[in-house]
């Protein structure tokens, strides 16, 4: 760190303009301006830290509580656990993993989420490619029809779908949840990917087509490699939504504990032991661990992927 940070070129600085035209002006008012800048940028930093802190407080509270003994959780606020004497324990985690069958629920959530993510993203990628780069009658109407289904609340598809799934005998099995999540995820996925794919330069596809490359080859050897960031961002969204879904699992899997995902197991505990905080703390924290890992793991792609689609649209 240099001794005079405000003098070094800084992209966020509104003082150290590299433009020669304003050089004299900047130099003339540099002392006052620098003072104002240092003041306002530290005020800004303090403000941002404050917002970040406020946003984190509820989560921090849960995290601290999850390491406190049940009696302490019931009798004092989590913030009192921060001061000595400390009584931290991993008992809550042990109890939940062993006794509540949460381990099984975690595995069930994985079994539901992985196909529930891959299937819609893949099918949406196929469809989005055709909507973006092929010409066929009714293209725009079919596309708009699919996008419009984004508005269908889960509740609306439940009963007809339940009837259909019962008729073909897949209710209560993972297959029913995979199919339901695929249908529910497709409208948004098609919408998002079509705007990503449509933003790619058209020369790319024209030259490939002149070279005689088939759509299958263009899709796999040009489109997919170029779209890794956007696909990754969609994968994170879809994974988080399926992982965090409560309603679809409740309806199609029923109450059976051996297939129930984490969200169902935790919601059951909230409803039946409303004051059982020690169970809730560690269970909730375990359920958020994996989505957080996925988010941090793919964060770089996430931001860049969104940029590609949302800006060029």
């Amino acid at each position: 760190m240099s001794a005079t940070p405000h003098m070094t070129p800084n992209p966020t600085s509104d003082v150290a303009l590299p433009l020669p035209r304003v050089g004299a002006l900047v130099r003339r008012r540099s002392l006052a301006a620098t003072l104002v800048h240092v003041f306002s940028s530290s005020v800004l930093t303090v403000l941002v830290v404050l917002i970040a802190l406020i946003w984190s407080v509820p989560t921090i509270g849960l995290f601290i509580s999850s390491f406190r003994p049940p009696t302490a959780i019931h009798n004092s606020g989590w913030w009192t656990g921060l001061t000595p004497p400390w009584h931290f324990t991993i008992e809550n985690y042990q109890n939940v993993i062993q006794a509540q069958g949460l381990g099984q629920a975690f595995i069930n959530s994985l079994i539901i989420s992985i196909p529930g993510t891959i299937l819609p993203v893949l099918l949406a990628a196929f469809a989005a490619y055709a909507f973006a780069w092929m010409k066929f009658p009714g293209r725009d109407w079919i596309f708009l029809g699919i996008v419009a289904m984004m508005i269908v609340p889960v509740q609306m598809m439940l009963i007809p779908t339940l009837k259909l799934f019962t008729n073909i005998g897949i209710t209560g099995s993972y297959v029913s949840v995979w199919l339901a999540h695929t249908a529910l995820g497709l409208p948004f996925a098609v919408y998002l990917l079509r705007s990503f794919f449509g933003a790619l330069p058209s020369d790319l596809f024209e030259s490939a087509s002149i070279d005689g490359a088939s759509h299958v080859r263009v899709f796999f050897s040009i489109l997919l490699p170029l779209s890794v960031p956007s696909l990754a961002s969609l994968v994170i969204f879809q994974f988080m939504w399926v992982w965090n879904d409560l309603l679809v699992a409740l309806i199609f899997l029923g109450g059976s504990q051996n297939v129930a995902p984490l969200t169902v197991t935790i919601a059951d505990q909230v409803n039946s032991f409303g004051t059982n905080y020690e169970v809730l703390t560690s269970a909730a924290f375990l359920s958020m661990a994996l989505p957080l890992a996925v988010f941090f793991g793919l964060q770089r792609y996430f931001v860049r992927g969104i940029l590609a689609g949302s800006v060029k649209g």
Binding site: W55, P58, A127, Y129, D140, I151, Q155, I266, L280
Partner: protein, 312 residues
């Protein structure tokens, strides 16, 4: 099953010039869109038609009743409250997430700890609604006066001399109950808006901002005259996503209050009518109201989408 009513579409002028490829596309495109069309058609579009039909029949779908279910919804005070709550959600939750997301995105853009700050705002997005509900029970928890408050809000409230409040669960303060649930939603979804809007901010050329500052424009007028207009397409995308999301709000209400204490919303009442009361007619009518409420949003998007298409 077709997804939209098939409409004759005028063949594009250049189709004859690109004859061989275009003719092949006409046929092969269906292999590419087929699976998506089948999934959406069978599992989403068919239920929509079914629901619209059911909404015109009585509770067990045995008798045609016309618009009676809608009449009931719009005259029953409890159901009217449900509609009002959804409207409150629509305005406050959508406005809250988009505005806060925009403000935070602009603020973190100008500090060195940007990625750290963004991560803390985004974390709630990665949580399940049930986990979030657990977290917020810790904030809103209530204990009788005189007892030790283990809820953060009541601890702060009583520290400043207030009486402990049954946040979200006081039947006398319906508006506050709803707003407290909305706070939970805003806490969760602001990060989503912030990340997308922040990405859009990065695309504004720095030369434009620097030129404006050189000309003596204030930060506030830069925000309203340059930043907001330049990222308005992205704001539209984010706002649309939030509108649709909020219209369908269910989890937070279901887990935190179950719709009690005057906090019921359409989707939660749909659930009640369907699975607790077996009132298929009224339930479907509620769902149809959601469907209708979202048509203007879709029309706006269709228009926006067409303008984009024309510019490509």
């Amino acid at each position: 099953m077709a997804v939209a009513v098939p409409q004759p579409v005028a063949p594009p002028a250049q189709q004859s010039r690109k004859a061989p490829a275009a003719r092949r596309d006409k046929f092969f495109a269906w292999f590419w869109i087929g699976p998506a069309v089948v999934f959406v058609g069978v599992l989403l579009f068919y239920p929509v038609l079914d629901t619209i039909g059911l909404s015109l029949f009585n509770f067990d779908s045995s008798k045609f009743v016309g618009l009676q279910n809608f009449h009931l919804i719009f005259t029953n005070p409890l159901l009217l409250q449900v509609l009002r709550n959804n409207l409150l959600w629509l305005v406050v939750a959508t406005g809250g997430t988009v505005l806060l997301g925009l403000i935070i995105a602009v603020l973190v853009d100008r500090v060195r700890i940007e990625s750290f700050a963004k991560a803390t705002i985004f974390i709630p997005m990665a949580l399940s609604m049930t986990a979030a509900a657990v977290i917020w029970r810790f904030v809103y928890a209530y204990a009788a006066p005189g007892e030790k408050q283990i809820g953060l809000l009541n601890a702060i409230w009583t520290a400043f001399g207030g009486q402990p409040q049954a946040w979200t669960a006081d039947p006398k303060s319906v508006l506050l109950n709803n707003l407290l649930l909305i706070v939970t939603y805003v806490w969760m979804w602001t990060g989503f808006c912030m990340v997308i809007l922040s990405a859009a901010l990065k695309s504004i050329p720095t030369e434009i901002l620097e030129a404006a500052r050189t000309d003596g424009a204030s930060e506030l007028s830069i925000f309203f005259r340059i930043t907001v207009p330049m990222i308005s397409p992205t704001i539209a995308v984010v706002a649309t996503t939030m509108l649709i999301n909020v219209l369908k709000i269910f989890d937070i209400v279901y887990v935190m209050t179950g719709g009690n204490f005057g906090t019921n919303v359409i989707n939660n009442e749909y659930w009640n009518q369907l699975f607790n009361f077996n009132q298929f007619g009224v339930a479907s009518a509620l769902a149809v109201i959601l469907l209708i409420a979202v048509i203007p949003v879709m029309l706006f998007n269709i228009r926006r989408f067409r303008i984009q298409e024309a510019q490509r």
